[in-house]
């Protein structure tokens, strides 16, 4: 589905991503992991055509750099980690912008737009807040607003750059489970940058481990997130440290259902 070949990104004399190649197949959830400064967010920027790169990134055989922005957006949806909206748009206005790629000039997609927007609001539990100004939302609500926008965009590949940075634990779980079900529908895949290796191993099907712009390992989560690879990338025994932390951890209570049941049902259908 997504093919990255010899991807290189340079900022002046610095090489941030160095001849990186990997592929992502339909139905997969690829977790991009690695220490700070490994080039994970830069990789996301290159795939989403936001920064200049050399090499080739193709989606379903087509070179992404040659596609029109609207075509790219119909295939790729991106959720960033930080959002700062300067003006007080309503939640619904932000989510509706997700349908931009399906409009043609001044015309909008009509009924289908309405349906997708309503569905996205329901799935993310933002229905109740649809008329609220985004400047009055909490960090978590704001992130869910943009998650709803990207779901309304209805892309085939969802790219997430640390999607749960501003979310508390129950939302962490809900978002990852929501995306886990989303990716199971035919013709879809997810690529996400995560820092939390336990989340990566729990939800990802595949992983790409990076260090200083280069690939350390890629493959299934089990193949990649081994103590040896992690030692190589992080320079410490992350695996042991995490196990020791988890050993001290009490089993957490079940998360309260934060997303609306209607949305959940719609997704299951």
């Amino acid at each position: 589905m997504l093919q990255v070949e010899q991807l290189t990104v340079r900022y002046g004399p610095l090489t941030i991503v160095d001849r990186l190649s990997f592929a992502l197949e339909e139905g997969c959830w690829l977790m991009v992991v690695g220490p700070n400064g490994a080039g994970k967010s830069t990789l996301v920027g290159a795939i989403s055509q936001c920064i200049h790169y050399t090499g080739r990134i193709s989606f379903q055989g087509k070179d992404l750099a040659r596609l029109k922005p609207r075509e790219v957006a119909r295939n790729l949806g991106v959720l960033m980690q930080n959002h700062c909206v300067g003006y007080d748009f309503t939640v619904e206005e932000i989510v509706r912008l997700g349908r931009y790629a399906y409009g043609d000039g001044l015309m909008t997609g009509g009924k289908e737009d309405e349906q997708k927007v309503a569905e996205a609001l329901a799935l993310t539990g933002m229905e109740r807040l649809r008329k609220q100004k985004v400047t009055t939302l909490s960090g978590g609500e704001l992130q869910r607003t943009f998650l709803a926008q990207v779901l309304a965009q209805d892309p085939r590949l969802l790219i997430l750059d640390e999607p749960t940075t501003h979310l508390d634990q129950p939302y962490h779980k809900q978002v990852f489970e929501l995306i886990g079900r989303w990716v199971k529908q035919p013709g879809r895949a997810v690529l996400s940058v995560v820092h939390d290796l336990s989340l990566a191993s729990a939800y990802g099907t595949h992983a790409l481990l990076m260090e200083k712009g280069r690939k350390v390992a890629d493959g299934t989560v089990e193949e990649v997130l081994t103590p040896q690879h992690l030692w190589q990338a992080y320079g410490m025994d992350v695996h042991h440290w995490m196990c020791s932390l988890l050993g001290q951890w009490e089993k957490p209570q079940a998360a309260r259902p934060v997303f609306s049941q209607a949305g959940e049902r719609r997704l299951k259908q």
Partner: protein
């Protein structure tokens, strides 16, 4: 970046509200035609405007002095506030407008150069000044943006405004230098730096009308893209906006419109900054509602400011730029203060 919150909800701003705005602008229009150093009753004004003139002094005042002036003022006000609203959305910065970005100063510099060196386009009176104003307006925009890109990779709006302010000062110093050597052209140059619509002609009105129709039409067609930019440039790119094309298109159109306004009315500050804020309080930040409404408010505000400049110290006339700056700065402080209070 500062979060600007409007006090009232955006819900319910529709056709009725636009009609009310239209009615208010019409009332202001007739008030401005009737009032002045020579006040004329509405009945007589209507008689003259409907073509039943008696060929007296009142006819000459209304048809040759006030009507072109009020029309030009309305069009300049509408254009400048539209440009301000568009720039504030595009750069996602509530402090942006033609003047703060240095585009107006650039256009003024162009006009002053054209006056000083007597640049003329054959067969088009005032064409040289207009051409130079538009060209310099666009060139200054390009210069400010490219310099900002070089200084700050992330292209932060604060950098753009800082560069714009510095560029404005640079242009002002060049204008002052030109004025030193201008000799008998000094008075004409002073006109550009203070802004005045007293010498407006029907030719100017027609030019403004064409510029506003074409440029305004293009800008209104980009309302969805401007909404996306106002949310964030990266977000705009992710949802499929052709960021580079839209940005370039909008900036070219804005600089043409500002260039035309400056070539006719000189530098009129604060309209493009304050009016979009007031409009946003009524309509919310959605550009589909904001842009049409800001046209009405801009036109109404500048017509009133021009009226004040004419009647306050009558028969002495104040430069309109002085009035807009005084009123605008007080209004801006009030808006800033009240929006901050809401944000707390």
């Amino acid at each position: 970046m500062a979060k600007w919150q409007s006090k009232r909800p955006a819900e319910g701003f529709g056709i009725g509200q636009y009609l009310m705005l239209g009615a208010a602008v019409t009332v202001i229009f007739f008030l401005c035609i009737c009032a002045g150093s020579v006040s004329l009753p509405l009945k007589e004004t209507l008689r003259i405007l409907t073509g039943r003139s008696a060929g007296d002094l009142a006819d000459a005042i209304i048809l040759h002095v006030r009507l072109p002036r009020v029309l030009a003022t309305a069009l300049v006000g509408a254009s400048l506030s539209l440009c301000g609203a568009v720039m504030q959305g595009l750069l996602r910065n509530p402090l942006a407008d033609g003047a703060t970005l240095g585009v107006s100063s650039g256009a003024s510099l162009g006009a002053v150069l054209a006056i000083t060196f007597g640049v003329q386009i054959p067969g088009l009176p005032g064409g040289g000044i207009m051409f130079f104003a538009i060209m310099f307006s666009f060139l200054s925009l390009l210069l400010i943006l490219s310099l900002s890109y070089r200084l700050d990779y992330s292209f932060s709006t604060n950098t753009i405004i800082l560069v714009g302010v510095i560029f404005s000062m640079f242009c002002s110093s060049l204008i002052n230098l030109l004025m030193t050597f201008a000799g008998e052209k000094l008075q004409a140059i002073t006109f550009w730096t203070m802004g005045s619509l007293s010498g407006s002609t029907y030719g100017g009105v027609l030019t403004l009308w064409v510029a506003l129709t074409v440029c305004g039409g293009i800008l209104l067609c980009h309302a969805r893209e401007l909404n996306a930019f106002a949310v964030g440039e990266d977000n705009a790119r992710h949802i499929g906006v052709d960021v580079r094309r839209v940005k370039l298109m909008v900036l070219i159109v804005v600089s043409v419109l500002i260039g035309v306004c400056v070539s006719i009315g000189g530098t009129i500050a604060f309209v493009g900054l304050v009016i979009p804020h007031i409009t946003r309080m009524l309509t919310g930040p959605n550009h589909k509602k904001l842009l049409p409404a800001t046209l009405f408010l801009g036109a109404g505000f500048l017509m009133l400011a021009d009226l004040v400049s004419r009647v306050l110290l009558s028969p002495l006339e104040l430069p309109i730029g002085v009035v807009t700056s005084m009123v605008g700065s007080v209004m801006f402080v009030y808006i800033f203060y009240s929006s901050r209070k809401v944000g707390r």
